[in-house]
């Protein structure tokens, strides 16, 4: 067994199961957002996504508790997931491939996943910010700005919840699979559409607004073509501000996992101080929009 460099909130083990290499995904201490799915439900979302034709690692089995923590096994997919490496030389067509997968995700019938819930996103992040117990007036300012300009929501769909580079397996031929379904929930599809545009997910390639790999327009056009949903480029701004706010709050709550002893880690600790990056970006976006 080999521990892989998995996500910040889950362990990932490469396991040899009778000659077949599978990936065992196991819970670590604590969660990033309060709305994180238990692994049993995440496994079900993965199955539903596969049924809907979304490119995902084949879900093998839900394993129950392993050493006191939930786990499931899925296909170990070959390819690159590190954002910094993908943006260096993205395969051609990755932008529209992202749009096509997202359109398929948003077509998963919600009744297939009856445990998924949707909540008022602003109330949710306000609660999470309160749980941190530290004053962040910049985040409050973002919440107030978003409240005042809240758009008429589009009909709710199944959302991936963390649709961005870092959770996408990529080969030189293009998109191979989508990972990390733990934040799946119901909501306005624009939330997923705008999330990979957030600056933190451009991995240093700031000139390419779509995840450091392309422009927004071809991606959005392909999505609109596939879904018939009328989302315009200017509709993304509200969700981009929200995305930065979400990641600012997420960085604070992650650092609390270290501070409260759930999972001691210098990686988590530092995030508490890097929340300021997302605070600055959200103020910058607001200033540019109101300017």
């Amino acid at each position: 067994m080999q521990l892989l460099a998995g996500g910040a909130s889950k362990e990932a083990w490469a396991v040899d199961a009778g000659g077949e290499r599978v990936l065992v995904r196991r819970a670590a201490g604590g969660v990033i957002h309060q709305a994180t799915l238990p692994l049993e439900q995440e496994f079900e979302v993965l199955r539903a996504a596969e049924e809907a034709g979304v490119k995902v690692p084949h879900p093998v089995a839900y394993l129950g508790e392993l050493g006191g923590r939930e786990a499931f096994a899925m296909e170990l997919v070959d390819g690159e997931t590190i954002g910094r490496r993908i943006v260096r030389d993205p395969p051609p067509g990755l932008d529209v491939q992202l749009a096509e997968e997202l359109a398929k995700i948003h077509a998963i019938p919600p009744e297939r996943l009856p445990f998924l819930t949707g909540a008022d996103v602003l109330a949710r992040f306000e609660d999470e910010l309160d749980s941190v117990g530290e004053p962040h007036p910049a985040i409050e300012y973002g919440l107030a700005w978003l409240r005042e300009r809240a758009p008429e929501p589009l009909p709710s769909v199944v959302l991936h919840g963390d649709f961005r580079l870092g959770n996408v397996v990529v080969s030189e031929r293009g998109l191979v699979a989508l990972l990390d379904w733990e934040f799946a929930h119901l909501g306005d599809p624009t939330e997923d559409v705008a999330w990979p545009i957030v600056r933190a997910w451009r991995f240093g390639r700031d000139d390419l607004r779509l995840g450091g790999i392309g422009e927004v327009e071809p991606y959005l056009e392909r999505y609109v073509e596939q879904t018939g949903r009328k989302i315009a480029v200017e509709d993304l701004l509200w969700w981009e501000v929200l995305g930065n706010l979400k990641w600012a709050v997420g960085s604070l709550t992650q650092s609390r996992r270290h501070l409260n002893g759930l999972e001691r880690s210098v990686e988590l600790a530092v995030l508490g101080r890097l929340a300021a990056e997302k605070e600055y970006e959200l103020l910058h976006l607001i200033e540019a929009a109101d300017g």
Binding site: L3, D206, V266, L274, Y280, H284
Partner: protein
């Protein structure tokens, strides 16, 4: 405490140790990444020790946060908040601010 090395110099010594001896011998990508994160953490601590940034006090931050939550947003809030967050970033990640120049 007048004795040397002072806190900043101690942090610098650990940083140099991590850079010269731990980083080149990292067993895998994961350990290399974590070592870089640890060095970054020490860098933040060192900049904080050396910083003479005029930042808002905890009380001022709490008051401002509560005012904004209550809908009573000061006219110059955006300007003030950008200054405040920029001051935090000069300690936490000065490189990041260059993206906006």
């Amino acid at each position: 405490m007048a004795d040397r090395p002072d806190a900043g110099e101690l942090l610098e010594a650990v940083l140099e140790f991590l850079a010269a001896e731990v980083l080149p011998n990292a067993a895998d990508q994961r350990q290399k990444f974590r070592t870089l994160v640890a060095m970054n953490a020490l860098g933040i601590a060192r900049r904080e020790l050396e910083s003479d940034e005029e930042t808002l006090s905890a009380d001022e931050l709490r008051d401002l946060a509560a005012r904004i939550r209550g809908g009573d947003i000061p006219d110059d809030a955006l300007r003030l908040l950008k200054q405040h967050v920029a001051a935090k970033l000069r300690v936490a990640n000065p490189e990041y601010l260059r993206l906006y120049e």
